[in-house]
Symmetry: C2
Subunit: 301 residues, 2 copies
């Protein structure tokens, strides 16, 4: 079923212990759409500048990604420069140029209005809410957010959370939103704000799902080297939502599988700089890693 993502398309300049790359394609909508397109058709709503050319567009070609909603505005594309050191769990932002993203007002093309699955990437909470309200047929709406919005727009964020089904955030953000250190109680508190389902990303420690009375854990895939963590969270969301859109089914057992597909896609994403590993990924590799997750977590009683 149709899956819509609203988020950023960006040029990233990154430095990690494994090297540096300047002005490579990134952004939440980019990582999400590339990963989700392995599972289901993706409609993208985002903005780029005049510096976004044929070469960048080519990333989306040959994949089931619809670009009708990719707006081109006067000016330059959003740019981010950051670096990772030591444990690679936290990026240090060195420079942010919002550029065309500063005045971004998401427009939903008519063809997207019937979207059933929606991922509201990490953008200003009132914009997330505006998009959500334009999609009356959505069956499952997920959103992401970050410390910046949690601290500066807590009331706006609460209004958005009240109208989404699922929140995907990292562990520190879950603690910040709820004001509770303990993960289980933090998730329960967040669920009172609206989202029926809470997914918490824990970096190298994996991810967990809170829904009804169910708690489900997936470990982080034990890579020998993490080259570039940029986009891991959006690749996770792409695998997670992509699997749900492909299957059109929200049972607890299918959400468990979705969490593992999210973990699989995040693990591939960080193996190389930027989108590189994802762009040559195959469905067979995805299924093989899913089987590895099973073998790493299952035991007989």
């Amino acid at each position: 079923m149709s899956l819509l993502v609203v988020g950023s398309v960006a040029f990233d300049s990154l430095k990690t212990p494994y090297g540096r790359e300047d002005n490579i394609l990134g952004g939440s909508a980019t990582y999400f759409s590339v990963t989700a397109s392995f599972f289901a058709p993706v409609n993208i709503v985002a903005v780029v500048g005049e510096d976004f050319g044929e070469q960048e567009l080519r990333v989306f070609f040959g994949r089931q990604i619809d670009l009708q909603g990719l707006e081109r505005a006067p000016g330059r594309t959003f740019r981010w420069r950051g670096e990772y050191d030591g444990d690679m769990n936290q990026a240090r932002t060195l420079e942010t140029q919002l550029n065309v993203f500063e005045t971004f007002s998401p427009k939903i093309p008519k063809a997207y209005v019937d979207s059933r699955y929606v991922f509201l990437g990490n953008i200003d909470p009132p914009l997330q809410l505006e998009v959500r309200r334009q999609l009356p047929k959505a069956r499952l709406v997920a959103c992401d957010t970050m410390n910046y919005w949690i601290q500066r727009k807590p009331e706006d964020l609460k209004r958005t959370l009240a109208e989404v089904d699922l929140l995907v955030i990292n562990e520190g953000e879950a603690r910040m939103i709820s004001g509770i250190d303990n993960l289980k109680r933090a998730a329960a508190e967040i669920r009172k704000l609206g989202p029926r389902i809470v997914v918490v990303k824990r970096g190298e420690y994996g991810a967990c799902l809170f829904m009804d009375d169910c708690i489900f854990f997936a470990p982080g895939y034990p890579l020998e080297q993490v080259h570039d963590p940029t986009g891991a969270g959006d690749s996770f969301a792409g695998g997670f939502m992509g699997h749900l859109a492909r299957t059109g089914e929200h049972s607890e057992s299918n959400l468990r599988r979705a969490l593992v597909y999210g973990s699989v896609m995040a693990s591939f994403s960080v193996e190389e700089f930027g989108l590189r590993r994802l762009l040559r990924l195959t469905p067979a590799e995805i299924e093989a890693r899913l089987a590895e997750f099973k073998s790493m977590t299952h035991f007989d009683v």
Copy 2:
């Protein structure tokens, strides 16, 4: 089959965000023997002082714990005072009185010489090695250690590691011994030092097992409140080794189950101060929590 533990018996004085208790029974051999005795008969080799009385001994009564190897020496029992704050992942030691533990030289009673399963608790590495060499019929010897020995007696520790089958340590210690940040590569490096099997404890993030080509993860049990983390690692080891001694089988699938039993016992241990929760634990509660671990980690492909 018979399981032997050598380690400390201590009086702990603890402060956590949930309260404080002074001079309560603790020590690695104590937590280990109480938890392991739910699974198999345990032989304990440790030392106590003249201040260790009837009341303390009573903890071991009515359980399958043999006290022949519990030596009573002139002087006072080992005492430790510590506190935990914030994330409860790391104890702050406020005072250590070694007392009779300072000159502890483990003596293996004749009846223990045939022990098949052995846990060398966190004591001076040359003592661990001395014990190990007195147990020629041991089928599986596991050992624990800590940053103190890793930093001060690296060569002695290596000699001990060369003669054990299994090392149980926490994540920070795995990085310290190997000098490698990445967990998978750290475990591979440690296995080169001797232990065929490496078990890494990750606090609230669970534990993982490295053996042959297998990596297996168990999550931490999502408690709403951790009242006292003291003894969690030894309770983990007690569940792990207890299950192996009970079944007498070292297949990969049985080691997976052992890792989950270890996680189960650690999760009960931290629910209340000291040994309190463990002393009123029932086998049915253990099996019920094992089933919860299964439901928190299993998914259908």
